[in-house]
Subunit: 579 residues, 2 copies
Amino acid sequence: MHDLNLNSTIQIVSSVTKDADSISLPHNVLETLKEHTPVIVQGTVKGRQALVGKESTSAATGGKSSRITAVEIKLEDIQPLNTLPSDLIVASGTVFPPEQRHLQIRHDSSLREALKFRSKAARFIRDYLVDKHDFVEIETPLLFKSTPEGAREFLVPTRNTGMAYALPQSPQQYKQILMASGMPRYMQIARCFRDEDLRADRQPEFTQVDLEMAFANGEDVMRTVEDMVRALWSQLLEIKQSDEAFSRLTYDEAMSRYGSDKPDLRFGTDIRRIEYMLPVDLVSKIGPLTDPIVEVVKFSLSDDIAAMRQFVNAFMDSPEAQPFITNPDGQPGIFIIDSRRPLQGLQSFGFEAAEQLEEILQLQDGDLVVLQARKNAPFSGGSTPLGNLRLALHKAAVKQGLLPTPQGFAFTWITDFPLFSPNNDSDPGQGGSAGISSTHHPFTAPKTAADVDLLLTNPLQVKADHYDLVVNGVELGGGSRRIHNAAMQEFIMRDVLKMTEERIKDFAHLLAVLSAGCPPHAGMALGFDRLIAVMLGKESVRDVIAFPKSGKGEDMLVKSPTRMTEEQLKTYHLRLRDG
Amino acid sequence: MHDLNLNSTIQIVSSVTKDADSISLPHNVLETLKEHTPVIVQGTVKGRQALVGKESTSAATGGKSSRITAVEIKLEDIQPLNTLPSDLIVASGTVFPPEQRHLQIRHDSSLREALKFRSKAARFIRDYLVDKHDFVEIETPLLFKSTPEGAREFLVPTRNTGMAYALPQSPQQYKQILMASGMPRYMQIARCFRDEDLRADRQPEFTQVDLEMAFANGEDVMRTVEDMVRALWSQLLEIKQSDEAFSRLTYDEAMSRYGSDKPDLRFGTDIRRIEYMLPVDLVSKIGPLTDPIVEVVKFSLSDDIAAMRQFVNAFMDSPEAQPFITNPDGQPGIFIIDSRRPLQGLQSFGFEAAEQLEEILQLQDGDLVVLQARKNAPFSGGSTPLGNLRLALHKAAVKQGLLPTPQGFAFTWITDFPLFSPNNDSDPGQGGSAGISSTHHPFTAPKTAADVDLLLTNPLQVKADHYDLVVNGVELGGGSRRIHNAAMQEFIMRDVLKMTEERIKDFAHLLAVLSAGCPPHAGMALGFDRLIAVMLGKESVRDVIAFPKSGKGEDMLVKSPTRMTEEQLKTYHLRLRDG
């Protein structure tokens, strides 16, 4: 067993003998076995690699791999080790329901390979950071406490009536404490938890590559992470990125040009702001908004105007278009350029505006011109309707064969996020009573001295020293330089966010730690599940997690969560509210 | 920053200049700084290693290390980056309260070194298993489900009324599922949770090195782990263990000879069973037990009889002796051999027994002879009172200088544990209504075919294919060959443990997985916190955990757990029972 290469494919050679009637003959046993039966085989090794003694194998240990070794064994004895239920039929390519995740893993070699790749990537990251860059991997507690920054944390009740731990959304506070503890480079591949309505591709528990550096600023962290990502791509995917630094966009640029704080830069359909060139009376007709921002994006997909009409109609009839049609700020305007009917469509903007648009956008026959209005005010959230529409139209065009499937990896850093965002109705904000919340978390430092000056007078204009790493429209992770000074941290909590004294007290430990001479520090976290999914070109993180939860947060295989028993509730001095 | 060796010690050289009055002069700033203040220093590098440009450092990044490089910088500018509170006094060797864990880490280089060693050991283990032995590290869910095997698991309520996840005590079930999923070698350095009254050195969350191998038995696992442990000791501690296999003791041998299933083999004070040589009427006088086992252990500490008397009296007066004095099965008998008063003490056993004892134990002047009775019946638990007394007396003798402090590492495997243990009053057992519980967990396989035959007739006599790795009286971990056949697993649950149908249903997922042709498999888990503590000779796992919980399960630094708010309770449809 110890000398067996687990990626070997073993071929058993056996043939009918004279005593063909005896059912105990190895050959006859072999013939009665169902596929996927684990067996012990005894025989003589032939073929390429000499193996000594008794070896065991099964279809389960085979499968395609880059390290296949073919071995041939002449059968002398075979013994089945378990039975397969007769109703279990495993056809090649079967997609099993989530209840049978074990069968999916066993029969889907791409899923097995993804899990192996994940293991390899984790080792690579640790080697890179711990071995080559002096980071120390430090395990931080998962039984943490509930703090105001975390509205959506799972609780873990204790036997001490009314007291509970909370599962951390990230090791943020502990890693900052480590920076004040004389551990200048921390890393951890850490499990994190988030109890929120699960979006398409979110899991209630997820893994992040977490790091923090003392005596460092955002540039140090970005350089470290960028170099690591480059090494990951070149070593594990054998894709060499250019040695040039990843491109950078400020949050404002990203939002203006792509309507998204995680733009996909593999296609260059830039958005432009145009309300300034439109007649005032027209702007008021575009939608219900007063003094809106009006933006435009152009798609050049084909010069076949009829085909384009068909494409647009098909898109607008598809479910993907629903959110845009029902946008309370007004529907998009979509125009198809047709030089035989000059300015038709666009002419509703008036001659001057239409001409200006034509010139700026360099319009040609068949071009799609898409307009959308939005509120002219700071907002929270990572995308505009036009940004989303840009992506949806691009996807539809790729699907229709009007555009090639984007290839490669386009990395970019998004910087200069707003430090605070206005609270909105659906998310009342955890910050305090100031009507604003920290865009990321209350420990993020303002970017410059000028930003510090704006904290009291115009907090929504303050830029954060925060950075996100984005590739192909996916946010791989984010980080920031942190506030390392207790007075500044307390000022932001009390005077800017206007947290109550009680809430500030929940952070007393952090303030005490910062005040004990904590050095400047900055860090970052990369979503590990998403990183692996992106590297392998998988649609969903579920394809790179051994036992993912369903959209409802259930593990369909083991059937979790389960109903609490009366005894369990008693142990934790709890009672159900509705019953 | 990137070129700075983080283990460097940097010496700042500065001297008074003519303008000694200006407080902004670098030298004067330097003189006003408190110790442990983070600073940015600008200057010219002298000394051994040339560093380029601006460098930052602090006392926090220094400290003793094996890679110290001395660098000298002539001060040109210095800028403090944070302030220390004036009431914070840090004398060398200060032991900080747990509330100031950050200061303890910063000022206790042995704690920092322990955390670095831990990080290094984790990397070594992953390299060993993943890189060299084809294991795949697979992250298994922490939001698991409550199952009958786990009476002491934390619950994590969900927003779905009455439904909860449970935090796993180990990845046991998921790793067995992986064995059925065609991932033949699994490993994980996994966080585990246990909600129980915290013993001296237990944490509610802990880390284990978890592994499982398909098409493997206990011998394969023991060999893999033994080789890895040997490599850990030789590579990280530079202590070469002999190439001989670790010694082995069966559970019965360990309990008979050392009164413990995790014996410290560094000292050879073996226990012997002697009730057969004692007169029947005497045995009945030894304590309240009917037909007890009577055992004896000898200590040869000194031939100074008066000194031994003093030692015994001091021990019996110490708090350590309390459990033995109050043992409901009878106190120990302790005799000091004195040839001037032949057979005194032992003579109460009658001439024949006393002579036999003298001969068997080869008694000499000053020897301590310690007797203890215990019930003659299978029992649950890992030690006998005499086993504990053996350790306590040994410890007292070392403290008194009567014995040398044990040195080195004595590894041993304990095998052949009973598969089941009788339930006792304090632990009613989670198994079922049969009055017995699985000694470890219900997935452990019986050792031999003969053991399988005993399952229904005499379950307490059935040996498990379970093995513990013990070093110096500490259990490093345990493992077993698992039941890989669904019918056998169901038989043990239903017919041997007599679980209710409802409880068996909680394991339906595991039975389904085993029935899908699961290969034979075996595995093990090593307590990682304990492993590191043992390797570094630390008394407590708290000395190798960055942020350990207190004896009450509290994190004194961040102050967790905290009181649940009414809003939080509402979110999870819960209410407190007492209020």
